[in-house]
């Protein structure tokens, strides 16, 4: 499906390239868009570190969320007692998440 969509949509770009006008050219036309002003500075700039801790948290908790699926899809086969360690695991992860959220909420240290 991915391959079909790529193969079906690439011709759209090629046809567009064939029938569209490509006559007049000047250096201003190919400048990055900055609402009419002449762009200044680099296009790929630095960005604030302010929300970086959320990305660090994502790396951990995304994996946790996917691992929960291994438990969730097998829950009908495993005994009920096996849910207790999962609850303990979730409690530990919740504690860690609360601490991380508290730390990432402190703007001053970032």
């Amino acid at each position: 499906m991915f391959g079909f969509a790529c193969a079906a949509m690439a011709p759209a770009l090629i046809i567009s390239r064939m029938i569209s006008p490509r006559k007049r050219s000047n250096p201003v036309k190919f400048l990055p868009m900055e609402c009419g002003q002449v762009p200044s500075g680099e296009g790929r700039t630095h960005f604030m570190m302010q929300y970086y801790p959320y990305i660090l948290m994502f790396v951990v908790f995304d994996v946790m969320a996917i691992f929960l699926y291994a438990w969730g899809s097998a829950i009908l086969e495993i005994p009920k007692v096996a849910t207790l360690p999962m609850m303990g695991f979730l409690a530990i992860m919740f504690g860690a998440m609360a601490f991380a959220l508290y730390q990432s909420g402190r703007r001053k240290i970032w």
Partner: protein, 432 residues
């Protein structure tokens, strides 16, 4: 086209026509005839209705429309039909195009405007075609210092990823492009590609607004991917499977939204965020950062990104239907196929039929598709509605919402599912 008109000359035109005819004849002789030979001698043709499909037979079937039916029937069983037409690309693109038109008209009505009106006689119904023609005939401008291969590939990859998402959606019993046991995990894997494509295109454009938009898309994905994944865990707990077709089939008596409304609400909110729609359209906030990560896309590249966006919208709405609203399940409203077409109709001296291969679609499939489309259109309506009503939220509010409230609600949903399972309401021995 404005390019051809000023220098138009009839003699040149006729010359170009003759040129084209010459090249077509040359290509037919040197490529077409060998291709026919290869098809005749080396490619195994299918046996349809007890006869081998030779090109000669195919042409005789073309002469009699009723004799083409077995060929169509055989073609509909192939993978190509599934990918290109029915549960796959064509069906989704049709719904996506309808969505674009309905969105524009509906937003206009909500805001006391008229919306598309002039293109096409009735209520601007051809506006979409006009837009497409406009986009395809516009020049594609790429910024000077852009990373060209990645920049060119990004729109195509975006449409491809959206189509890969569409491929996982079961539309009717047995009608799904990719029926895999890990369907839901595959959905998460595909969803994870969208921010990567976004940030790749944003970085390769070498411009400030796309860069800011790409970073915002990354933050948005980071804060909403986890509630999205966790909100669907409840459904997996009560069904015990990751296969989307089985999840859909398990809701033949009641949809899961009755038992897991919290999960449905969390999934709907995260769905709005993943689709970058108002109130979560920070990556392409028109009023702040020109068009966000789409700023440098022009012409058909922008058109492709739009197509991918609406394919994704359809796929998310369909996923909501499959997981929470019962998928294809619904009362049987489609009448059964008339029997007399299968045995032949006798009208006086004339006897017509029987027509081999006639029930092209069986009753269950038509009914399932009908209910699926009705539910999907309803969900798409509710996805479109906030755009006319809500303002955009700030990025710190977004992160706060995603990380504290939605994750908490998703865990509440998981515990509801566990309680229902262990109380014996659902699962083995329960209501099912």
């Amino acid at each position: 086209m404005s390019v051809i008109a000023p220098k138009f000359k009839l003699s040149e035109f006729i010359k170009s026509l003759l040129d084209n005819i010459f090249w077509i004849m040359l290509l037919l002789t040197f490529v077409g005839l060998p291709a026919v030979q290869i098809v005749l001698f080396y490619i195994e043709m299918p046996v349809i209705h007890g006869e081998l499909l030779t090109p000669f037979l195919a042409f005789t079937w073309l002469a009699d429309p009723t004799r083409i039916l077995p060929v169509v029937h055989a073609f509909m069983a192939t993978d190509l039909f599934r990918i290109a037409a029915f549960p796959g690309f064509g069906f989704a693109a049709l719904l996506a195009a309808g969505t674009i038109f309905v969105e524009r008209k509906m937003l206009a009505k909500l805001q006391l405007r008229v919306g598309p009106f002039y293109c096409g006689k009735i209520e601007g119904i051809l506006q979409l075609m006009g837009d497409g023609l406009k986009l395809i005939s516009k020049e594609i401008i790429i910024p000077a210092k852009a990373d060209k291969p990645i920049f060119w590939a990004a729109p195509v990859m975006f449409v491809g990823a959206a189509a890969a998402f569409v491929a996982l959606i079961p539309v009717a019993p047995g009608w799904v492009v990719a029926d895999i046991d890990m369907g839901l995990l595959a959905v998460f894997a595909v969803i994870g590609f969208f921010p990567i494509i976004t940030i790749l295109s944003a970085w390769s454009a070498n411009s400030k607004f796309p860069f800011i938009g790409g970073i915002r898309a990354l933050f948005q994905m980071v804060s909403f991917e986890i509630p999205l994944i966790l909100s669907l865990l409840g459904v997996v707990i009560v069904t015990g499977t990751l296969n989307l077709s089985e999840i859909s089939a398990s809701q033949s008596f009641f949809p899961w939204i009755i038992f897991l409304p919290v999960g449905a609400i969390v999934f709907f909110i995260t769905m709005l965020a993943e689709l970058e729609r108002i109130p979560f359209d920070l990556p392409e906030a028109e009023s702040e950062i020109v068009a966000g990560w789409l700023t440098e896309f022009s012409g058909m590249m922008y058109g492709l990104v739009q197509l991918g966006t609406y394919l994704k919208l359809y796929a998310f709405a369909a996923l909501f239907v499959v997981l929470f609203l019962g998928g294809w399940n619904g009362p049987m409203v489609v009448p059964p196929f008339p029997e007399e077409f299968l045995v032949g109709v006798e009208m006086g001296p004339v006897k017509v039929g029987p027509f081999p291969g006639l029930p092209l679609f069986d009753q269950a499939m038509l009914n399932g598709t009908l209910w699926f489309v009705i539910k999907t259109v309803g969900v798409i309506f509710f996805i479109l509605l906030p755009r006319g009503v809500f303002p955009r939220i700030r990025i710190d509010m977004l992160l706060n919402l995603g990380w504290t409230k939605l994750i908490g609600l998703a865990f509440v949903n998981i515990f509801i599912a566990l309680a229902l399972l262990y109380a014996g309401v659902l699962g083995p021995g329960g209501l099912q």
